[in-house]
Symmetry: C2
Subunit: 643 residues, 2 copies
């Protein structure tokens, strides 16, 4: 029987295991990417492995998160990253060059290759036919050191696209429809592989939008075929030579199928406060809007912004609306500046921000108190915008532009005649803001600012844990809840002791203090614990505070992996009802941990405060068990190196 695209790439990169869903596989990683918010830590970890030069085909270090630079910390990180890249054989995309996923798509992505990135939206490159997976920085560091990436073999869902998009419906609406159907946990343990005759009507940037926001379903990744559309895109990027055709075999099989009729899609919106709270724009009605934000790795391509410029040209934003636009890359910005579209945007009243993530990660442009913000971003978790009581709606660039003009959430079909925006024959190609690694690594001095602190060491997991439940949270807790980002906290990413003060700060500001007073403890969570961003700080900072175990109904993939990587035991309830029987401040005891983990992976937990016992499960591979027992992946790698 034939292979689907996912299986083809996995098979050609398989280091160990077999392609049976749920079984552990290890794959060779061709390319890695990091961004600055996760990168500093990732390179500190890489450095700790004592490997003189990255062993991947290509590794790129991007700066796109911390570009406001409200203190010395960010510029220090940028300088450190630039030095590390030069020294260890990594390409360095300078601040202002753009958002990692947009630039990687433009300049580096290769169909059929594997990409591991320390950012949850790494699957964006799936738009080019790459198998692109988001992971914690430590996993990426291991990959740079030549190690394989381990994961449970995902199920492959065939998302079959039929027909073509109606005028004013867009790629964003396709992925919002996927989210509406799958929810934010419907993709866990799965790859969303797109197919069907509708694919060929979508350009690579549109495919990238869809692959990008597949991350919000919890999917391992999303992937599109590499076809003539892909070839044309690579040709326009001056990289046709890297193109290979990559299609599913005609007799390929899939674990699941999802059919989407493109022609029936209408403009959709994800309402506050979850990307899966999706409704048709016209059903939500004319919500009064204070801010419109166009940008982010989901929707900041040349095509996206040309459409926005065409809508705004000659008009002006509504007096109530602050419209901000952050182009995805220097390539995009230069082209808009060359062809006059940028002048149209500025004339229409848009505030142009640097080519970076910006408002999407709460780095600036926080809406007013209780404000309504309509954004082309991928996440609308409460508070992520920087304003705790803001209402954030996620839409397509077309809907955003229409809304900016009227001041109310607006179905872009009200604008009338459809837009005609063509893909360029040739993009503006200029890689001078991407610095190649130094030819002589010994010539490179890596400068470390005072905020760049050594990695805190992880201790081996004890044989038994007795600890207090420091917090009990509900379902769909995001890594933004666990380890907030935003303008105040993101600059501390390379300083775990300082960062740890903010763990759960938005949920319970006393958490860090209580954790330190108790000398650590246990976290109890609901379903899909740790969804959202890939940030390993959501494991690393709790580790620093002495958290030994997280007990939840279920976990998001990357966060579960991060917990193991940093030596925190991720456990799920055998009986979800037991969740109700535990309260904050209960003292739990978990005994005989090594035996249980190396045995049936079922552990008995005693609730000492309430005097009952219940069962929990550790869904881990034998390799993961050993990682956990030695105190995390970095310790494990050192052990392996010494063997």
């Amino acid at each position: 029987m034939g292979y689907n695209i996912t299986q083809k790439i996995l098979a050609s990169h398989l280091v160990s295991g077999s392609l049976e869903p749920g079984k552990e596989i290890a794959i060779r990683i061709d390319q890695t990417l990091t961004q600055d918010a996760t990168g500093t830590m990732a390179y500190l970890q890489f450095e700790a492995m004592n490997v003189p030069r990255v062993k991947t085909e290509l590794s790129v270090s991007y700066v796109d998160h911390n570009t406001l630079q409200t203190g010395f910390e960010n510029a220090d990180d940028h300088r450190f990253l630039q030095g590390m890249a030069a020294k260890y054989g990594v390409y360095f995309s300078r601040p202002g060059n753009g958002i990692c996923h947009q630039v990687h798509l433009e300049r580096f992505g290769v169909p059929g290759k594997t990409l591991l990135g320390s950012d949850s939206h790494t699957p964006t490159a799936g738009g080019l036919g790459m198998l692109a997976i988001g992971a914690g920085g430590l996993d990426v560091a291991v990959a740079m050191a030549g190690g394989p990436f381990y994961m449970a073999m995902p199920k492959v869902v065939n998302v079959r696209l039929h027909g073509r998009l109606a005028p004013w419906a867009s790629a964003k609406d396709v992925v919002l429809e996927v989210l509406r159907r799958l929810t934010v946990k419907g993709g866990v343990g799965k790859v969303l592989e797109y197919g069907g005759e509708g694919v060929k009507s979508l350009t690579v940037p549109e495919r990238a939008t869809i692959a990008n926001m597949g991350a919000e379903t919890g999917a391992t990744t999303s992937i599109f075929p590499s076809d003539e559309v892909t070839r044309a895109f690579l040709r326009a990027q001056g990289r046709e030579e890297v193109w290979v055709e990559l299609l599913a075999d005609p007799d390929a099989s899939y674990d699941e199928v999802l059919d989407i009729d493109l022609s029936s899609l209408e403009p959709l919106v994800a309402c506050p406060h979850s990307p899966d709270n999706v409704k048709p724009v016209h059903e939500v009605g004319p919500v009064a809007v204070d801010q419109v934000v166009i940008g982010s790795c989901t929707n900041s391509s040349y095509l996206d912004l040309m459409r926005v410029a065409a809508i705004l040209k000659g008009k002006v934003v509504h007096p109530r609306v602050s419209l901000v636009i952050a182009p995805g890359s220097r390539q995009v910005l230069t082209m808009l500046a060359q062809n006059g579209a940028l002048a149209d945007l500025v004339a229409a009243g848009a505030r142009i921000l640097e080519c970076a993530c910006g408002p999407c990660i709460g780095m600036g442009q926080a809406p007013p108190s209780g404000g309504v913000s309509v954004r082309t971003n991928n996440r609308n978790f409460k508070g992520r915008s920087g304003t705790a009581d803001a209402q954030v709606y996620l839409v397509s660039p077309e809907t955003a532009a229409a809304t900016a003009l009227t001041g109310y959430l607006t179905d872009p079909r009200e604008l009338g005649d459809p837009l005609v925006v063509e893909m360029p024959e040739k993009f503006y190609i200029d890689d001078r803001m991407i610095l190649p690694p130094a030819e002589d690594p010994t010539s490179v001095e890596v400068v470390r600012g005072p905020n760049i602190k050594p990695l805190p060491p992880a201790k081996p997991l004890p044989a038994s844990i007795q600890g207090r439940v420091l917090i009990k949270v509900g379902d769909n807790i995001t890594t933004d809840h666990i380890m907030p980002a935003g303008a105040k906290v993101l600059p501390l990413r390379s300083n775990i002791p300082a960062m740890a003060e903010y763990v759960f700060a938005g949920v319970d500001p006393s958490f860090a203090r209580r954790a330190k007073e108790a000398g650590g403890g246990i976290i109890v969570g609901g379903e899909n614990y740790g969804q959202g961003s890939s940030r390993e700080h959501a494991a690393l900072a709790p580790m620093y505070l002495g958290i030994k175990a997280v007990l939840a109904k279920s976990f998001a993939r990357i966060h579960r992996d991060n917990l193991i990587n940093f030596g925190i035991l991720p456990l799920t309830f055998v009986e979800p009802a037991d969740y109700e029987r535990i309260e904050q401040d209960d003292v739990l005891e978990i005994s005989n941990i090594p035996e249980a983990l190396r045995g049936g992976l079922e552990l008995e937990i005693k609730n000492i405060s309430r005097n009952f016992t219940f069962k929990a499960r550790a869904q881990m591979t034998p390799r993961e068990v050993e990682i956990l027992l030695v105190g995390g992946l970095l310790n494990y790698v050192s052990t392996q190196q010494r063997k």
Copy 2:
């Protein structure tokens, strides 16, 4: 005998007093401007005066300082300002429309008129032949309410320009030369009135650069003639009808004369950490540079950025240098986007920031630790960049651009052939981002966010003060020292209790706590205390902390006025040597204050801790004495209104 330009404008606006240097005069104010960092407080003060509509010819409210929006506070302020403007008859320049001084020059400035602005760089409009003065927000509020502006009649210095600038020397170098000669306190109590045949070789934006940074000498303002060059500028802005000729009479007299030979000026640089630490660029030598910032109200005009674009075109920034460019206005940015210059800047690796003050006021782009930043800004006070140990150099746009390319502080004459950049015949004119006031004020709802706190009330000055010296500081203490700005503190501008926690934070972080514990006290300063920014928060927040008097060797004008406006007694040592005899924590007693102030203005102060007495002087007009005694200008205005 004939009048100079300053005298002509003052005479035509005189409400009381006579034009004798040092004597108090009151003048009618035609126009006012505010920006968002000082504006929220100014409009709260205006509101407290119960005047239904501003009484000026024109008042404009700009948003240019707090545009990063790292929390809800900024957007709340913007919304409040927009509402207040609509309600009270003020034009509102929306966020993204540009820096107040640049936009005012382009769209509103009128030769021969008076302008009072709650920003110390208000003199920029002197480039157009306006008498434009920076003041505290409360003074501006009084002017909006129709009150005159009081000041001591300044001396008028005739700055005579001879010859014309050599290639690669620029307007910035002219004002750096003025600073080199006058120092940061040499302009106190003076107006710098430019004349001489060299004036006609300078465009209005160049004159504006010179007038702008005259603020750094401590001058009341700087002013240029209104001539055919002015007329051409206004014509290009579509406003020729407001032009009037305004020249000094041939037989005008001046209090002082300063001659500058333009043709002998070479590229200059103000070295860390003062704008008057000026040397020729080539003498300072090739300092390695980490960052270049081009922008600020001093150097972000169309002409400035076209020159930068011409220098950078086809080249790329040095790998060590982060180059950021913040265009001065939406007019400038649109024109650069229309004519391709912006594409050249982006292609060369420039990071384009929003049209706003940005890095100049420490709102983002803080350099790395110990980093060297070369900027076209007007101030390089230690720490103002956001990085305490950064070294900031102030230069012309040409020097900045040359430096960005080489990575070392570079004399632009090394670039070779001179630039030819012409003033446009016609600027891009589009005022759609400037909202006129509402026709029906009752229709306007003013929304106040939770960070917008009522103004703290000021108490009448007691008859005697006994207080501890809470801090003793040296010469040239800036309002940045007293009340820091930057990304952390600026958003608190409308919340005095929160802001007061940061008074002297960079000098002595315990100050606010100690002041509160002691229930207030006294500050001792050296020469030129309170130079720099006009921020009245440097008086308002100390007032909130209970500061009753500041005893210094001398004061900067705006800060002294602000102290009086908020009921804090500004005293100078009769014998400067007495400064040495006082230490922090000494307890001082000042008795019979009303009698002394209404009498000879000399006060006896007892140092109780060291048991000696000394004399201090209160240089105040009778009106200022009354303002002080009732607890500040707002109380005084209420008293007057009740009469």
